[in-house]
Symmetry: C2
Subunit: 171 residues, 2 copies
């Protein structure tokens, strides 16, 4: 794919236009895509299963990841722990096909509704969703803060899929 | 509510225990709540409608907001634009009752499934969801990046609800 940041190239199907952010009214009320990247050049992305509505993961995109997701219809992220562009599923085969992308009011977050290939898992620990544990609330805190596993079984063994690649979780 | 950070107080229903983060195995595989707050002291929060599964908003919590949400079962956030603890709905009446809270693999993000009081809206612009616009993808980019409104009508007029309070959206 050619570099979309090269303004000398004519706009084509691989070029994505991001509008400059001129006013709050433009950003909130109009139809221009004018994303806000933070100080690290990232926008937050929440990804849900298009069928179940389950939140699968929360990730980040830089400009290139957002462009590639828009052009290809498959989810790309920026891996903060590995500091690389990350085509989700490139290693595991668990590619996320994007059914719908939405952007929020101030355009600093996107929501992907996806269908996941293969076993349908999106979590590097082996679960379908990264959110596989419940935090008890209010009167439900009978065992203090002890988390409750809502997924009972992993769908894959991370050692089989990722081998000895470093775990992205940081303390 | 008493200050939960005061370690001289005995643990009670208002005290929330966060475990120290000792190992990746502990954080990912065990039942201890050991949240990771970022350099600004914040954890990311995605909030969905407990019935429809719609993503309503993406927000942030500091330690106090997370504690208050766990103890009260109502959503508290940290407002980054206003730099204050924010009991969602305190101004608008659109309180979010939390049906379920989950935490992700590396414990740096939480997911709230909520029922919203009143009109059910969660977006300061007046829509039910902050994600009221779709970004076209792949072959659907017939009008370039022009966003498509998926909510046709606002549920309330922000001027009626918030008066002349500053708009939280920043350019």
């Amino acid at each position: 794919m050619k570099e979309t940041s090269d303004q000398s190239q004519p706009a084509g199907p691989d070029a994505v236009s991001f509008a400059p952010r001129n006013s709050i009214e433009q950003v909130e009320e109009q139809a221009e895509l004018a994303p806000k990247f933070d100080a690290d050049g990232l926008i937050t992305c929440v990804t849900t299963d298009a069928d179940s509505g389950e939140v699968l993961m929360l990730g980040y995109m830089n400009k290139e990841a957002l462009e590639k997701t828009i052009v290809t219809g498959e989810a790309y992220y920026w891996s903060r722990s590995r500091q690389v562009l990350w085509h989700k599923g490139a290693t595991s085969g668990l590619v996320q096909r994007v059914v719908e992308m939405r952007i929020d009011d101030d355009q600093d977050a996107v929501w992907l509704r996806v269908k996941v290939a293969g076993s349908g898992a999106s979590c590097h620990v082996g679960y379908l969703s990264c959110f596989y544990r419940q935090v008890p609330l209010g009167a439900g805190r009978v065992n203090g803060e002890a988390l409750v596993f809502v997924e009972q079984h992993k769908t894959f063994d991370p050692a089989d899929v990722y081998g000895d690649a470093p775990n992205p979780t940081k303390l």
